[in-house]
Symmetry: C2
Subunit: 414 residues, 2 copies
């Protein structure tokens, strides 16, 4: 039995999370608002907010919007205390590392973007660079080091959430890099490492909850092809790895050579290197390019738009590959809204028709056939925000253990 035994304090923990979630979603809320949002009784909200204020997690903001000029005792607005904690995020992508410090309200404190030749970088090079960047940010912002409470990392590649390890990545030759362990030891906080696509899904859920609520998929079309999936309101994680490797579903048995070493993966037809390989007239078994610059990719796209030729055919192949993957995905989980993210979303016009044709009629027995797709050509802001939300939600779930918080900020290591 996986089932855990329930204790009375679990109830408080869960309801505290509800209160914090409400506050995170709306910034300024009176206790009455919280009652309305959560469904908890006024007495319970009072008890919980009193404790949160005493622990410094929440502040009363008297100057805030006082719903003024109404009769009766005025509501007093509550807000998360931005200074109670600092979190750090790390985005690691091809030739790029981006670290940011956020406060507990999710506001940027400091950041650094650094270009790194990741393809030639060892695991040590990468961790060294990341630590340098983080050290610099923490040093520049006095007090932030002492308040650092969590780090979230989104990486291009396959990760293992449980051990916070990057198992494999196209951006560096080294495998099984235990980023979590290393950063955790150095900064004395817990670390989450996940695929960048999971982070994108997390971000979409927060920035556009109307479209991305319970069930949806975010597909990153870039150097590689990945997916972040939400099902029943929960992130879908693989058994071991943290991401659903959409790009490595099988499109054509014994087909084109994929960067992962196998043949026929969707990625081998739909990623930027696959499109350029086909456009250049190379054999589909030719070794994939390690790095494709945006300029040449866009040039090919422009040529595809201007005339019907090898370029346009390559994009159509890509659309078919993605569509084929979606058809299989939808067979397994039923159709869900799709967010296309990254450079590939910028050329959606070139792949849409073929993609839709293959997907159409996904549910042969007559389920809703309409496929909704939205495009987000720039993946970086989403990855960043996803990392941030991951860390903050982690805090919201940890700060629960009442009384725990008082000690936590002192437990730093550096």
């Amino acid at each position: 039995m996986v089932d855990e035994i329930a204790r009375p304090d679990d109830v408080r923990r869960q309801n505290r999370r509800l209160v914090l979630a409400a506050l995170r979603g709306h910034d300024l809320l009176s206790r009455t608002d919280i009652v309305a949002q959560t469904g908890l009784s006024a007495s319970t909200v009072s008890a919980i907010t009193t404790a949160l204020i005493a622990e410094g997690i929440v502040n009363e903001s008297r100057d805030g919007d006082v719903t003024a000029n109404r009769r009766g005792r005025p509501q007093v607005a509550l807000t998360l205390n931005p200074e109670i904690a600092t979190i750090a995020t790390v985005e690691l992508a091809l030739n790029l590392a981006h670290t940011v410090l956020f406060d507990y309200k999710g506001q940027v404190i400091a950041q650094e973007i650094r270009r790194i030749p990741t393809l030639d970088a060892s695991a040590g090079d990468l961790t060294r660079a990341i630590c340098e960047m983080l050290d610099g940010l923490l040093a520049a912002m006095p007090g932030s080091a002492g308040r650092l409470m969590h780090i979230s990392m989104g990486v291009q590649g396959v990760t293992d959430a449980a051990s916070a390890t990057m198992l494999w990545s196209p951006i560096t030759p080294d495998i099984n890099v235990a980023f979590g362990e290393i950063l955790s030891a150095r900064y004395g906080v817990s670390v989450a490492v996940a695929n960048d696509c999971s982070m994108i899904a997390e971000a979409l859920r927060w920035t556009d909850p109307e479209h991305y609520a319970e069930d949806f998929a975010a597909i990153l079309l870039s150097h590689g092809i990945g997916m972040g999936l939400y099902l029943k309101g929960k992130p879908f994680l693989g058994v071991q790895s943290s991401g659903a490797e959409f790009g490595h579903m099988l499109h054509v048995p014994n087909g084109a050579l994929c960067r992962c070493g196998r043949h026929g993966c969707i990625e081998a037809y739909a990623s930027d290197y696959a499109i350029l390989r086909r456009t250049a007239g190379e054999d589909e078994q030719a070794q994939p390019a390690q790095d494709v610059d945006a300029a040449s990719f866009n040039a090919v796209a422009d040529r595809a738009r201007s005339r019907d030729g090898a370029e346009r055919a390559a994009f159509r192949k890509a659309g078919q590959a993605i569509g084929s993957g979606l058809r299989s995905l939808f067979s397994l989980i039923d159709p869900v809204p799709i967010a296309l993210v990254g450079p590939g979303a910028g050329v959606f016009d070139l792949i849409e028709a073929d993609l839709r044709e293959i997907v159409s009629g996904t549910t042969g027995w007559g389920g809703k056939p309409d496929l909704t797709i939205r495009c987000y050509p720039d993946e970086h802001p989403l990855i960043l925000q996803g990392c941030m939300m991951t860390s903050l939600l982690h805090l919201d779930t940890q700060l629960f253990a009442p009384g725990d918080l008082r000690e936590a900020p002192l437990r730093r290591a550096i």
Copy 2:
């Protein structure tokens, strides 16, 4: 926020479930045993068991194994009270309906198997037959009608768990059959309708927990091809339909005609009708046979074993289709143990080599490559047991609301 607000009684509900789950797994347990198994304190177990006994859900079984001849106060064995509830299961398959009455301990009370020409049966014909069978069983066992508390139905086809509806099925022309609503109205109990493959997965989890615990897939190879999936110890359900339609993942774009009306589904290569179609030298766009009898399928299998020809080639194609689906599935969820169930499992020797070849190296980045597959040629006992466990676990989750039970058995309708 999907999050529900927690109340103090939820704690008791959860812990009651733990106690019942322990009892369901071991039949005879003393309170001390339950303490050991659940981790609850002795006082809590005492409180919970006292209530369960008062409500008639659990019995003391003094005669039971008294761990005799030891010093100290003897343990008194507890056991589920078989008479507190009756449940009914319905398996609906091609030309077959099988209804069974079980007691609360999962022992068969009565059953009937009836051959029905389902292909020519309307929704009304089917429900009428099922109700007749259930009525007969309930009438034959005095008292059982008054104790009937749940019905579980496993059907070949696509189902919607939420509305307990069969959306589409290959065994009958009618669609959107609301079995749940109909049976629920007639018998006054709640009804679960799910794909037969989900039931198989549920059964495997209980009959062989050592091999099928947290993550595994049960694939039914029969007239159609379906899958029941467990991930992280929970049944995996689609967004709308209750099953993961493995058989309708895309194997070959614009490929062979599938019974679902689309082209290129795995099923169009690996189901019995697909194999016979190919063996007979028919075009792969030929209309699928509605019904394939076991004898001719086995004859083809025997011929495939005895000589290398069209038969063997057809099975190899089937193995490739299944392997291709597994490769894609494993990309999404990481490799899991597989149970092959049904007639197709009886010819595993003919498909294994091709299946494994395509799946091999599923995790390009070096995850555990070994693929474990076990075969269960007879699917019916598993479907039956899965239905039973579904109903019983439902009761274990409903009998929680303390005091609820006293009224429930009277709330019958018939």
